[in-house]
Symmetry: C2
Subunit: 163 residues, 2 copies
DNA sequence: GTTGAAAAGAGCATACA
DNA sequence: TGTATGCTCTTTTCAAC
């Protein structure tokens, strides 16, 4: 499915979903965006089917969940083996996020979580065994997420959300 | 609110939410985890209140949404001004994610989205004006997200999800 | 804390503008 | 394409365990 042009209703809905993707009702969103609840529902389905919305995830505070060690590993993978290496990282426990960028060096960033520091250290070593040449390992301090503002400025009333 | 110990029901629920935080019913989750639907609902509420679940967000394919330029900026912010600088980045359009790590150099990673390359380049320059010394700018290639496996191995039946 | 049943509310499909 | 109505299913609530 190709690219879609988003209108202001789509953008308003996306904005509200980014503020809270689970505890908004379609009715509420419809009022904010100026459209009927059923329209909101069908727009969301369409955004899902067209691939603009890929899925929904909870934001988890791993520390509160009892996993004290949370770090970002920056590494290099040879571009020609990149995809297969990334696939195999599925077998390493504790990896919650992987980003790859279009460069030859330091082209992968891996977020790893674990209960203890030593547990996570083992996992970092496992990365080296699997073809990721680790350049740097940093403790994650904070992660801020914010709605992409183009999806909402003036398109939806801001109520109070749990930001 | 302090740390919580998660039992296997909590972990199973978190696992399922990570697979899809919006299109699972509590009944379905209850069946997979071996508990009643109402229990699932109350556990989720508790996880939200205790801060283990911080929120819910859609995963958006920005390219399909018509925003072609998507990049990761790695930079350095002076640690003593870090929090205020991060706060002020709220005024820069297109920033969707900011991570800070516990080092003195290259301690911030900023994800920026925009409609065109030049638009995003302007925004990167705006970062320099606001106290972020930009070290590197890379085009984002792919981002993989996966459920933290400790939250679910064997605790929830895997149906087929849209992973 | 967990359950199951009853009430309230949301989502979905059909029909229509 | 967007909106409204009615039907179905989900979520919420709460008394009992």
């Amino acid at each position: 499915m190709g690219k879609r042009e988003l209108d202001s209703v789509d953008k308003g809905i996306l904005y509200l979903l980014q503020r809270d993707a689970r505890n908004h009702t379609t009715k509420e969103m419809g009022e904010r965006v100026g459209v009927a609840a059923s329209t909101v529902a069908s727009r969301i389905k369409k955004l899902e089917r067209s691939g603009v919305i890929v899925g929904y995830r909870p934001r988890i505070d791993y520390e509160r969940a009892g996993y004290d060690s949370h770090l970002i590993v920056v590494g290099t993978v040879p571009t020609e083996r990149r995809d297969s290496i990334i696939d195999e990282l599925a077998e390493v426990s504790g990896i919650v996020n992987i980003r790859t960028v279009l460069t030859d060096e330091e082209n992968v960033s891996i977020e790893i979580v674990g209960a203890t520091q030593s547990e996570v250290e083992e996992r970092v070593e496992a990365l080296n065994d699997r073809g990721v040449s680790v350049v740097r390992t940093d403790l994650l301090r904070e992660e801020h997420e914010r709605p992409f503002d183009h999806f909402g400025t003036g398109l939806a009333d801001d109520g109070d959300e749990f930001a």
